[in-house]
């Protein structure tokens, strides 16, 4: 009951998060990774202490490869460049080991042409659209039998709104991290978004499912429980399971973020943020919205 009663507080929290995310996206914009825009990443590690950033900058300054350099680990640098040909790659490697005995080892080199980048972007967009479509079909199917007092398509609409929230929040977080810490929006981030979609649609549906079940046993006539009471009870009944299923997933992701390989750190961070947002929206946003929608209906009908 607590959640339904104080729903405005929870709406406000979600509202602030969503507005903040939208603002971040419009003000700072995305920072696309090389798998979307094409380009190269060169990761190097020095056998002894790494030279100063300015030294490395000077070594490759004349090459004009649109480079930007960032320190990584204890002895390494990550250099981002335009998409390099094989000859250009050899040039930069020799430039880096010129006039020094501290010759860096190439740990990783990725070069993605603009053609593949554009293709990855369109594939990502298509897969997001397909997953959304599949989810809408899934919801329509799951709620085909609900009617009173809130029509089934409204359940669907609220679910989609909750999903929008779940995707928007991690996107906002990554745009902000991109602005301040250079995090990139890449294909792995899109993968995270799709997994979040699949995960949180189900979380929302479980609560709605319980609402539907409880409505059948809500009694009749004067003894009939009001809609907000039914929703409140449903949230209470599913609360522990909603939290616990997310907790085990979040535990696994937190471990992956802390101890896991470098490559999947951003993936697990995006999933952590998104699944937290998804659990929040299923419990504190989706179901209370059902009550709000019902009370709007009542006002319209003049009840």
């Amino acid at each position: 009951m607590f959640i339904v009663k104080y729903r405005k507080i929870f709406y406000t929290i979600s509202g602030i998060l969503m507005l903040g995310s939208l603002l971040a996206i419009f003000v700072w914009g995305f920072n696309p990774g090389i798998d979307f825009k094409g380009g190269s990443v060169l990761e190097i590690e020095y056998p002894s202490a790494r030279p100063e950033l300015s030294v490395v900058n000077q070594q490759i300054a004349g090459l004009n490869f649109d480079q930007s350099i960032r320190a990584t680990g204890e002895k390494g640098y990550i250099i981002r460049l335009k998409s390099l040909s094989e000859a250009e790659r050899a040039t930069i490697e020799s430039a880096l080991s010129k006039n020094t005995t501290n010759i860096p080892e190439v740990k990783r080199f990725d070069s993605i042409g603009p053609v593949l980048g554009a293709e990855a972007l369109s594939k990502s967009i298509v897969s997001i659209i397909l997953v959304l479509l599949a989810i809408v079909i899934f919801i329509t199917f799951a709620f085909r039998k609900v009617s009173e007092p809130v029509a089934s398509w409204k359940y669907g609409l609220i679910t989609v709104f909750a999903l929008f929230h779940d995707v928007l929040v991690p996107t906002g977080v990554f745009v902000a991290l991109g602005h301040f810490k250079g995090y990139e929006v890449d294909t792995l981030f899109v993968t995270a978004l799709l997994v979040i979609l699949g995960f949180s649609v189900h979380d929302t549906i479980v609560v709605f499912d319980r609402v539907r079940e409880n409505l059948k046993f809500a009694g009749v006539g004067k003894n009939r429980k009001t809609f907000d009471v039914v929703v409140g009870e449903s949230i209470n009944q599913t609360f522990v399971r909603s939290i616990n299923t997310s907790v085990t997933t979040l535990l696994a992701l937190a471990v992956l973020y802390v101890v896991g390989p470098e490559v999947t750190k951003h993936l697990s961070l995006a999933l952590l943020v998104g699944i937290t947002a998804g659990t929040y929206s299923s419990v504190f946003l989706g179901s209370p919205l059902l009550v709000t929608v019902e009370s709007w209906q009542n006002k319209k009908r003049g009840l």
Binding site: F109, L130, D209
Partner: protein, 468 residues
């Protein structure tokens, strides 16, 4: 009851067997936590990002070919590049054709993976040449031939010393001389069968310019060999019996059918101008891959331990059963990975994520069980009801994850994401089996009657118990 317990024991033994085949080993440790779990990953297929190596994506320019020829040209291209890759002595290289697909725009791609190769420069140089077909004639005995042979001889004798004798002549072929006739003049090659012996041979036809060149070549080389070179390697050296004026020749000599077909294909397409362009390069150093692999295994073990602890603390006896089911889940998945999956860093992440999600079904069941208990049902009934009623939720939740993973797999733009989607999909499907079948078998085998306070304590969970 006896039957159920027997079945449970069989399941445990089977799981231990699966774990053994999946190369999981337990060993005693002197200090906490006293048991060490290791996964011997030597028998698993690891992707380049874990093993180190080079991944190249090429675009083949097939715009000059008609639709029917594209497939053949791509196959020939793959064969050629495979041969070139083999020069590196790479173990298990992958050379595969990737169709553009729905969103790719129908372009033809060639993917080359070279595990362990980090010297991309050489690899790209060797691979990048356009296939060449050459015809060469015998080098006659004489001063030139002797000089070249001597150069080879000198080099052979001194190559292990500190100053090997290197001469420009080493670049020459002592036995054959290049001729103006190349694959550019070839019209087509086909496999035919000798009407009397039934042996396959390859028949080739030159265009008019080629026919003239070939005529001259054969006229001047009767009873000598003409060597056919593909990419600088000799593939056949038939003996010329007479002058051939019509530009038609037969290359015969103990072919197997498959060899003859391969030769004809190479001749047809080996010389065709299928330009290839490098679209993407990825090189991962071996040390980086090893770090990623170790970090992945470590996080998997820790994630498992943390989730197991949570389950046992919160759900007590059923929690312990869930941990058992989760163990079966892990060994089953590892066994599937061992035989079917090339593991990548993203794949390991997908697996760890799926460990977290695999217990969802158990949580749904246990929460439902608790509610049934609270409503006053007897323990065995509550267990049965818990499984029965939670099923629709479990089915729905896994359905949405399956849909996501299938779409991800289809539209994955790189192998990282494909690996993630595949592992995630396998995880979701197997978790349905372990969370339901395994947990139910064990819970029923325990066969608690549930009247004593202790039994109820064991089955209650968490800190909040719902009101009846």
């Amino acid at each position: 009851m006896l039957q159920k317990r027997l079945f449970a024991v069989i399941l445990i033994l089977a799981a231990i067997g699966v774990g053994y085949f999946a190369d999981i080993r337990l060993s005693a440790k002197p200090a906490f936590p006293y048991v060490a779990v290791t996964v011997n990953h030597a028998n698993y297929k690891l992707g380049l990002d874990l093993n180190g190596g080079t991944h190249l994506v090429y675009q083949a320019n097939t715009s000059k070919l008609t639709g029917a020829d594209v497939g053949g040209a791509m196959t020939a291209l793959r064969d050629v590049i495979e041969r070139r890759v083999n020069i590196f002595g790479v173990s298990e290289p992958i050379v595969q054709i990737e169709k553009g697909g729905v969103v790719g725009g129908g372009d033809d791609r060639l993917i080359v993976e070279l595990p362990g190769v980090t010297n991309v420069e050489d690899a790209i140089k060797t691979i990048g040449q356009v296939p060449t077909l050459e015809f060469k004639t015998e080098r006659l005995a004489g001063a030139e031939k002797d000089a070249i042979l001597k150069a080879f001889d000198d080099y052979q004798k001194t190559k292990d010393s500190s100053k090997p004798i290197i001469s420009n002549l080493l670049a020459e072929d002592p036995y054959y001389i290049s001729s103006p006739l190349t694959g550019r003049y070839l019209e087509h090659a086909t496999v035919e069968f000798d009407p009397t012996t039934g042996e396959p041979h390859v028949s080739i036809t030159f265009n008019s310019v080629g026919a003239k060149l070939f005529g001259d070549l054969t006229k001047n080389n009767v009873n000598k060999t003409i060597a056919v070179y593909l990419d600088g390697a000799i593939i056949s050296a038939p003996v010329v019996r007479e002058e051939i004026k019509d530009g038609k020749a037969v290359i015969s000599g103990g072919f197997k059918v498959a060899d003859a077909q391969a030769l004809a294909r190479n001749l047809n397409y080996g010389a065709l101008p299928v330009d290839i362009k490098l679209l993407s390069t990825q090189t991962i150093g071996a040390s980086l891959g090893e770090d990623a692999l170790n970090a992945g295994i470590k996080s998997g073990l820790i994630a498992f331990a943390v989730i197991a602890l949570f389950l046992i603390l919160w759900y007590r006896l059923p929690g312990l059963v869930a941990v058992l089911a989760l163990s079966v889940y892990v060994v089953l998945n590892l066994l599937i990975f061992k035989f079917l999956v090339t593991l990548t860093a993203a794949g390991i992440a997908g697996f760890i994520l799926s460990i977290g999600m695999a217990v969802d079904a158990n949580i749904l069941i246990f929460e439902r069980m608790k509610e049934e208990l609270a409503r006053g049902r007897a323990l065995p009934d509550a267990v049965r009801e818990g499984f029965a009623r939670a099923w629709t939720s479990i089915r729905d939740s896994n359905l949405s994850s399956i849909i996501t993973s299938v779409i991800l797999y289809w539209f994955a733009s790189n192998s990282l994401i494909k690996g993630f989607a595949l592992v995630f999909f396998i995880g979701v499907v197997t978790s349905m089996f372990t969370a339901i079948v395994i947990s139910r078998t064990f819970l029923q085998a325990i066969g608690a009657k549930g009247d004593s306070k202790f039994a109820k304590f064991l089955f209650r969970s968490g800190f909040l118990n719902p009101k009846p």
